[in-house]
């Protein structure tokens, strides 16, 4: 099978300025000083091929570049060097409920969030009942979101997010919240996505779910070092690295 995501020699460097500045005045006054910065490589020379239908996990400690990698795949960040080629539509749920507005009602937020995820009005209207049913929030559908608990908000967000048609899903630590029954429901959705042959790139610290779902795991170690392999091996390596 051809790879659906091809990453070649990918590096991402962030410029960390010596002085963090948001003022035009300061910029003009200290023109030369403002242009000095440290280079920080969040990712260095990564190669990765992900095939259609694969469920790939990414693990690593905080600051190892997991989220940066997802953002590069999503096209939110642009590479400093190297390339990312994605052959298909991506649904970025890097964070659930991004774009939700607390002042709007749940109903209004469903439409807003659907639009952000790239659904059309017709699709949103057609799936509205499903979304509400999955979230189990029928009673509160016309209340403003600010009255919802954080768990309820995540439920609503997840219910909308899973309506995405995209063949490639980028998932960043979305299951950390929500109660046990809802998590179970989320995992059954993951199973369904797998059966449908969707490609999923999954970032998580939850090693149990990594072990359960992933076909392959990328372990981002410190610096430019990384390991690829079977979930069990990578998790073992990660655990031995992080043992205190």
């Amino acid at each position: 099978m051809d790879s659906i995501i091809t990453i070649r020699d990918l590096s991402k460097m962030f410029k960390i300025p010596h002085v963090r500045n948001y003022n035009l005045k300061t910029y003009i006054v200290n023109f030369r000083k403002m242009r000095q910065y440290e280079k920080f490589y969040a990712l260095e020379r990564i190669d990765l091929d992900i095939e259609g239908g694969e469920f790939v996990g990414i693990i690593g400690r905080n600051g190892s570049g997991k989220s940066t990698l997802l953002k590069l795949i999503a096209g939110i960040l642009i590479p400093t060097s190297g390339e990312v080629v994605v052959e298909g539509d991506i649904s970025p749920f890097l964070e659930l409920g991004v774009g939700f507005n607390p002042e709007l009602t749940a109903r209004e937020n469903i439409f807003l969030y659907s639009a952000i995820l790239g659904l059309s009005r017709n699709e949103t209207e057609g799936r509205f009942a499903d979304i509400v049913a999955f979230s189990e929030l029928e009673k509160f559908i016309d209340s403003p979101l600010k009255n919802f608990s954080s768990g309820m908000q995540v439920r609503l967000a997840f219910s909308v997010a899973i309506q995405s048609n995209a063949p490639i899903l980028l998932v960043d630590e979305v299951l950390a919240v929500g109660d046990a029954p809802f998590q179970k429901k989320c995992f059954s959705v993951f199973d369904r996505f797998k059966r449908e042959g969707r490609t999923i790139v999954y970032v998580s610290h939850d090693l149990t779910s990594i072990q359960k779902f992933c076909d392959r795991v990328v372990y981002l170690r410190r610096g430019s070092e990384r390991r690829y392999g079977k979930p069990a091996d990578m998790i073992k390596l990660y655990e031995s690295d992080t043992k205190v």
Partner: protein, 260 residues
């Protein structure tokens, strides 16, 4: 070097629509008077300026001074509010910029459209005002719509330009505020153009807001048809502003997520 191939069949018009409508709702839903608040500002300004310049000082020689003044205020208020809120629109949606990939231009575009709804409502008020003021209606009024379209394109272009720089330079709000204030007095909004010595008229010719407001009054109040040369020149000017804003925005947009 870099290559991000995107085969996406996204429904961006729906996204523009949702951003525009929800912003409009949010702006007005939390006050009982809603839209009336946004009308209050130009009307109050109108009331004060009318009192000072027409009752106390008595500008002579301007026909239908009330409509002249109100139309100037409404068009300039639109430009003021659209560019000010458009400038900050990207930062207001910073969480989205950092997490979701969609054409960034949708954000300042929706912000402009939200303000355009208010402009449209204000034009309804102006029409009622014109009815009461007994300004004769001419066929040239239709060119007023063209002027409004030009105004929207100009405001969008300036918003694109400002928003693309605002992420790096947050003190632009103060700078732009001063420029808008100066612009209000450098544009014939309250005073007629002919009280200004002719040698300064060049300033009105290069000020796009002065051109558009003058044009609007010419076709709506005076009933004069605009010349072909004038129509083309105005279009060229607003498209130039839009073009510069668009190019600057597109060149900088790929770095927005890093600049937040």
């Amino acid at each position: 070097m870099k290559l991000v191939k995107k085969i996406r069949e996204k429904n961006y018009p729906f996204l523009v629509n949702q951003f525009t409508v929800t912003d409009f709702k949010l702006r007005y839903s939390h006050s009982a008077l809603g839209y009336l608040w946004s009308l209050l500002n130009p009307l109050l300004l109108f009331g004060v300026l009318y009192l000072v310049f027409s009752v106390f000082m008595r500008f002579g020689g301007v026909e239908h001074y009330q409509v002249y003044l109100l139309s100037g205020i409404m068009l300039y208020t639109y430009f003021n509010e659209t560019t000010s809120s458009g400038m900050m629109s990207l930062l207001k949606k910073s969480s989205l910029l950092d997490k979701v990939n969609f054409p960034r231009i949708i954000i300042p575009l929706s912000s402009t459209l939200t303000n355009t709804i208010t402009l449209f409502l204000n034009m309804v008020i102006l029409t009622i005002f014109i009815g009461f003021s007994k300004v004769p209606i001419h066929g040239s009024v239709f060119f007023g719509i063209l002027t409004l379209v030009e105004l929207i394109i100009l405001a969008l272009g300036v918003s694109l330009f400002l928003s693309a720089f605002y992420l790096n330079f947050r003190d632009l709000t103060h700078i732009w505020g001063v420029i808008l204030q100066l612009g209000f007095w450098a544009t014939p909004i309250i005073y007629p153009m002919d009280i200004v010595p002719a040698k300064y008229h060049i300033l009105f010719k290069i000020n796009p807001m002065a051109r558009l407001i003058h044009n609007f009054r010419m076709v709506v109040i005076m009933g004069e048809m605009p010349g072909t040369r004038n129509i083309i020149l105005n279009l060229v000017i607003v498209l130039f502003f839009f073009g510069v804003g668009y190019v600057v925005f597109q060149r900088r947009q790929k770095y927005f997520a890093e600049w937040l």
